[in-house]
């Protein structure tokens, strides 16, 4: 398999991802896991604070979620795995060691497929481990504060083989991993809120030569930073190698103000963690029947989901690009709040088993809805416009009860205000935007379309004269006049035919 060349160099990348396990309680303690909104030091117990005499007790929910993630990543699940202590001193590690799975992790030898190319990225292992507390440095007070909320929360560490070859591939891997973890409910996978962090290993070498020395870049918490850090690191290593200087094996960080990587520690400073089996925790034994049961209850994964959507809707006029944009909407929930339902689920609910035309629906979502949201600097969320509201809007346009422009006015109104559960029809009526039709005028509620046309005809004599002289397109000006009068509620075609018939 020929490897990708970037400017004459082969780039070798491996990614270690830490994803917070989406369980209510922590990995070895019964304290609750925390959201960002929780006050500091409100969710911890004596074990998390490392009080003497406390002992760990594994949370079976974490094991289940680790199983789901491992199977979604096509791993071989180890029926027996163990826990080890990784020792080092740091103020965000109250007990002085982290309980992790160094010698025998829960899963090995899996892979993740990158949708754009079908490339398989090999997963070396998946392991469970504790998260540390959070330390916050207040520069004004020159004091570090420790928040124990996160101490002991469960993490999944997912390690790839060095199969990635470019920053773009790395970005796609991370996005696909996020989507996969979310699909099985193992993690929220939000980099901005900290429930997903990546360390990237980077090395470069000339074709035909052995792999170069790798440097690890730690704690990258957005895809943008990952791409930027890799790019900077490639350039840094290139600059050294072309001048025949060696690349030192280092652990580096990424400074997102200066947009470059910097040295954290060298190989000599690397600590000896003195890994030791934790004597309080025995072997984690998972029987094959349980593994099979979890496998059967896994939901459809993003790759399979995409295939299904293409097979179902492409014949009806929806393009693959449309579908990819739709799928991509969920991967980009940067505001940390997940939509109530996914964009694809939203789409399918509005289509409602063929009740509405998929092509029309997707156009409304991708063009009108997203467009309006973008102009207000918002991202997609099913909270903004409910499935029912969008469905009604599409129906009313189809039955000509709303003109296209009117519908867009209603949409803009809805998006500019707090979410409401009012029916779209009610909102349209309140805004006085429901179309004028011949039948509505007959009930006497709406002014007669013909009346308005007559008024406009009287008000625009020169246009009428031009029309009658044979300039057929001038009728549009008259139609425009009616539209202005009715604030867009009149249907354009009906208006045109009414005007023409009045002038016969």
């Amino acid at each position: 398999m020929s490897r990708l060349l970037l400017d004459g160099w082969h780039v070798v990348l491996g990614i270690e991802t830490h994803a917070q396990i989406k369980s209510r309680q922590k990995l070895f303690s019964s304290a609750s896991t925390s959201l960002l909104s929780h006050g500091s030091n409100t969710n911890f117990n004596a074990f998390d604070a490392a009080f003497p005499g406390t002992l760990p007790r594994i949370n079976p929910k974490c094991v289940l979620l680790a199983l789901r993630a491992s199977l979604a990543l096509n791993c071989h699940v180890q029926q027996r795995s163990t826990f080890d202590r990784k020792h080092y001193f740091y103020s965000d590690l109250p007990v002085g060691y982290q309980i992790t799975q160094h010698y025998s992790p829960i899963a090995l030898d899996g892979y993740l497929v990158l949708p754009s190319t079908g490339k398989q990225v090999r997963i070396k292992q998946v392991q469970m481990e504790q998260d540390t507390a959070k330390s916050i440095f207040e520069s004004r007070e020159r004091t570090s504060y420790i928040d124990l909320n996160r101490s002991g929360s469960g993490l999944l560490e997912i390690v790839t083989e060095p199969d990635l070859e470019s920053p773009d591939e790395a970005a796609e891997y991370v996005r696909t991993l996020q989507a996969t973890l979310r699909a099985v409910g193992a993690s929220d996978g939000n980099m901005e809120t900290g429930s997903l962090r990546c360390d990237v290993n980077v090395s470069i070498h000339r074709p035909g030569e052995p792999f170069g020395t790798r440097c690890e870049i730690k704690n990258l918490n957005s895809v943008r930073y990952i791409v930027a850090a890799i790019n900077h690191e490639i350039e840094r290593q290139k600059a050294l190698l072309v001048t025949s200087q060696p690349v030192a094996q280092e652990t580096r960080g990424f400074d997102h103000h200066r947009w470059e990587t910097f040295k954290l520690r060298s190989k000599e400073d690397a600590p000896d963690y003195r890994y030791m089996p934790d004597p309080n925790l025995g072997v984690l034994a998972i029987n094959p029947a349980e593994i099979m049961h979890v496998q059967r209850t896994l939901p459809l994964l993003p790759e399979a989901s995409r295939t299904r959507l293409i097979e179902k809707y492409e014949p009806q006029g929806v393009t693959r690009d449309d579908i990819d944009v739709l799928i991509g909407l969920d991967a980009q929930s940067d505001n940390g709040a997940l939509p109530e339902i996914t964009a694809t689920a939203y789409f399918e609910k509005v289509v409602d088993n063929g009740r509405r035309d998929p092509k029309t629906v997707i156009n409304w979502i991708l063009n009108s809805l997203l467009g309006h949201l973008a102009s207000q600097e918002k991202t997609f969320s099913s909270n903004h416009l409910s499935v029912n509201q969008l469905g009604e809007m599409i129906d009313m346009v189809a039955s000509k009860e709303l003109t296209g422009p009117s519908a867009k006015l209603v949409l803009r109104h809805i998006l500019s205000n707090p979410p409401s559960s009012a029916s779209l029809r009610q909102l349209a009526v309140d805004m006085n935007l429901v179309s004028m039709t011949k039948s509505s005028s007959q009930t006497g509620i709406e002014p007669d379309l013909s009346e308005i046309c007559r008024r406009v005809i009287d008000a625009m004599p020169s246009e009428v004269a031009a029309l009658q002289a044979g300039h057929r397109n001038v009728v549009n000006k008259l139609v425009g006049g009616v539209m202005k009068e009715t604030r867009g509620r009149a249907d354009a075609n009906t208006t045109r035919s009414t005007i023409l018939s009045l002038l016969k």
């Binding site: 004596a46 604070a49 490392a50 009080f51 003497p52 005499g53 406390t54 002992l55 760990p56 007790r57 594994i58 202590r85 020792h87 001193f89 740091y90 103020s91 109250p94 007990v95 002085g96 060691y97 420790i146 000896d272 003195r274 890994y275 030791m276 934790d278 004597p279 309080n280 925790l281 025995g282």
Partner: protein, 431 residues
């Protein structure tokens, strides 16, 4: 002194607390004494200072917790005892974090042996002031060796039976809560109260695996392990052992010599949490110190507050886990441990229990220089049972040489705690 007599099986002296205060000044057995004991008719228990109690300090006899550290919770064994009516009368002195066996490595000062030959004849009086019941911890033998100072019986149960929740660990896979009491009957009663599965302790054996083992003494076969009679055994110990075995034979017990060949092979992570941040002693770094590495900041507290024995063992443990030494020390130790267990398993195919001396000599003088080799030889007698997680009871036995009590250990297969206590009771009755 009065000896109250109640239906309650836990007999107690009403004036015990006053006596404790006055006697403790010279003995230094208690590091904390409860201010009020609501119901003076109930049993009082002394709890070792490395077992958590929410009402008295839990110092582990260490400078790093001496700053009046009070645990926010009770150890499960304390809760169970209190629920049965017992009251914690005080926290007892011990070696710092349980590291040692002579109670001389404590920040509170050494414990002076209250058992003086002149008082030996009035056994009741000699035990005045000391609670009739104490909870301790046994990692390599400390509970079983306490009898030399308290002249009471000591039980180290099978590993995993008594909950370790709230017991400050020294070596997680070896630590056991031990029971010290005046006789086997009381020991058995307390054991039955505490022998309960605790879901908070991951090493607590599930209820389904706890069975009352056989306690039949007829046709009892007692094994005597050859390796437990080193040359260093003092004459008083040899004398007491010989007489015990003779008396048992007279009771119809069969004595069988056995061999536990891996005995000689048999002798850290838990100390990392004491950094002065969440609780405990904190020594601020002097002005101008380099604060860039957290471990340097911690070292001020730990250097000042840990005793020398603890420091020694931390360094030893750290070294044996380091990348260079792991294969040679830690892994080898695990293999040796497996050999020790297999030795015992083989022996228990032929015998029901093992009997051997608990200590190489009776209680040594406080100021006698401790010979490093001696303590190693001493470890041989108690550590193997800890490595194998087996139940062991140490019974004080008369000796005619110098009058001090000698400990006789009875060791059983895992789960045979009731049988071990039954044999102990037999020895007790022969005295």
């Amino acid at each position: 002194m009065l000896r109250a007599c109640h239906r309650n099986p836990f007999l107690v002296s009403v004036c015990q607390r006053r006596t404790i205060h006055s006697k403790n000044a010279s003995i230094n057995a208690f590091v904390a004494i409860a201010d009020n004991v609501p119901n003076p008719n109930n049993i009082t228990v002394g709890v070792k200072s490395n077992i958590c109690t929410s009402e008295l300090t839990t110092t582990c006899s260490s400078g790093i917790l001496k700053v009046h550290f009070v645990s926010p919770f009770n150890a499960t064994v304390v809760d169970l005892l209190q629920a049965s009516g017992a009251q914690v009368i005080g926290k007892t002195n011990c070696d710092e974090f349980g590291m040692g066996s002579l109670n001389i490595n404590s920040v509170h000062g050494p414990v002076v042996n209250p058992w003086e030959p002149t008082e030996r004849r009035s056994a009741g009086a000699a035990r005045e002031g000391a609670p009739r019941l104490a909870l301790g911890t046994d990692t390599g033998g400390s509970v079983r060796l306490q009898l030399r100072t308290a002249a009471s019986l000591a039980l180290k149960p099978s590993y995993g039976l008594l909950s370790r929740w709230g017991v400050v660990p020294y070596a997680d896979s070896l630590d056991c809560v031990g029971i010290l009491a005046k006789d086997v009957a009381l020991t058995q009663k307390v054991f039955d109260i505490l022998n309960v599965h605790d879901p908070q302790d991951p090493t607590s054996v599930p209820s389904s695996s706890r069975n009352k083992g056989p306690t039949e003494l007829r046709n009892l076969r007692v094994g005597v392990p050859q390796e437990y009679f080193p040359a260093e055994l003092s004459p008083s110990v040899i004398d007491a052992t010989k007489r015990t075995l003779k008396d048992l034979k007279a009771q119809g017990v069969t004595i069988v010599p056995v061999s536990l060949t891996s005995t000689s092979y048999a002798l850290s992570a838990n100390m990392a949490r004491y950094d002065g941040v969440q609780y405990g002693t904190r020594v601020s770094p002097p002005p101008g110190s380099d604060l860039s590495k957290v471990s340097d900041v911690y070292s001020y507290s730990r250097t000042e507050a840990f005793g020398s024995e603890v420091k020694k063992r931390i360094l030893l443990g750290t070294y044996s886990l380091s990348a260079d030494a792991f294969d040679n020390y830690f892994l080898q130790a695990q293999r040796v441990r497996q050999l020790v267990k297999e030795d015992f398993d083989r022996a228990f195919h032929h015998v029901d229990v093992l009997i051997h001396p608990s200590a190489i000599r009776t209680a040594p003088l406080l100021d006698s220089a401790s010979d490093g080799l001696d303590s190693y030889v001493q470890d041989v007698l108690t550590v193997p049972a800890s490595l194998a997680g087996l139940p062991a009871v140490s019974i004080p036995v008369r000796n005619s040489e110098d009058g001090w009590p000698v400990g006789m250990s009875v060791v059983g297969q895992w789960g045979a705690d009731d049988l071990v206590m039954k044999v102990g009771q037999l020895i007790e009755s022969i005295q």
